[in-house]
Symmetry: C2
């Protein structure tokens, strides 16, 4: 079975009040997105990589032989992933990943893809460490049982035909936080793959500082 | 109405693999707990402060005139808070705070205490930024609606008689993640007070790095 990773790096830099999109800011001298691609390049199960970029972005990927194509993102996350998915035609498995998550490990990538091969759909998750309350209006309604909750990370990997069905007929202009949500709506079971909280998404400026600290503490990925 | 802040700093350093408990590790040249006390010392609504420390810990609080007492923590968080609460006798309002949350702002402290004066119980919360899934066994069960979830932070403030009733008859050896949970069990409504995600709890070594970055970016607290 062939596997294509779809790395989505089409977001804007709006939360950074910066002209540089967050994926292109540098950690330890290299853009975030380059750290991310390195990990998928190093993952044995990944045969090829499709990068989804904003229309005005370019990226030199000549050092990454697995990078098959760069495609242009859409107006929404779902549209960007769909564009990447079209470019991954022929792959048996696709693994969708946020370009702004440079700290994913090769082991996490491998386990997520292996689980998707086995079950059809797999989601990398991390424990919920905070106490989570449900609210009703301006009051606390309940304390949720953390043991039964997980934070959805990426990669999220699927048999292509499963993701194809999930995309069929959805409104791509709607806000979709993750691809698993689409597959959940199909009713297809999604296996969870336990991952690490270190796999943060670079969203705010302070996340860059944290990512630098985490990268420096890594011995290998 | 008089208000006492109970700052709980009795935890161990187990997650740091360090002999120094996390509250005593330094950020920008000062122990975490000292940063935390500074903020309560600066909050106009706080009349006095009780610090709960582990039996083998000492802390020089001579520069903080509001610090009324240092008391020794118990075997569990609930026991530690209860010990602090006994020492806060006479206060109309108590505000319980994690010593390992040095980034709380004076404004957050003030708003939480004001809300507890008004309603009897108030909890500082932050938005949930991750996609949260509920799980069933090894599979995803559902995607929760983030808009209806909050992360419970501290301070959590209560009219003393409300917290008194919440402590009455509970098993202090049980694991209690936060005091609001006890008050929820009473059936007393708890108002939420929207706070910032910057108010992190120092739990892992990399949190110290993040806290340093956040502190350096602050212009005032």
């Amino acid at each position: 079975m062939t596997t294509t990773a779809i790395i989505v790096a089409a977001g804007s830099g709006s939360r950074f009040k910066s002209d540089t999109p967050k994926q292109f800011l540098e950690i330890n001298g290299k853009p975030v997105i380059v750290h991310t691609i390195e990990r998928f390049q190093s993952a044995p199960s990944v045969d090829s990589i499709v990068i989804v970029l904003a229309a005005d972005q370019t990226l030199d990927t000549s050092e990454f032989p697995k990078v098959l194509k760069e495609v242009t993102g859409g107006a929404t996350r779902a549209e960007s992933v769909r564009n990447g998915f079209e470019a991954a035609e022929g792959a048996d498995i696709v693994a969708v990943h946020d370009g702004a998550r440079p700290l994913v490990t090769v082991d996490e990538i491998e386990r997520t893809i292996a689980k998707a091969k086995e079950t059809g759909a797999a989601c990398l998750v991390a424990p919920v460490t905070d106490t989570i309350k449900s609210i009703r209006g301006d009051e606390i309604a309940d304390t949720l049982d953390r043991a039964k909750l997980r934070r959805a990370l990426t990669p999220q990997a699927f048999r292509s035909e499963v993701l194809r069905r999930a995309f069929d007929g959805i409104d791509l202009t709607e806000s979709v936080t993750d691809e698993c949500f689409l597959v959940e709506k199909l009713g297809h079971p999604i296996a969870i793959v336990e991952g690490s909280s270190r796999n943060i998404k670079i969203t705010h400026p302070e996340d860059l500082v944290l990512a630098e600290a985490l990268l420096s503490a890594e011995t290998r990925y």
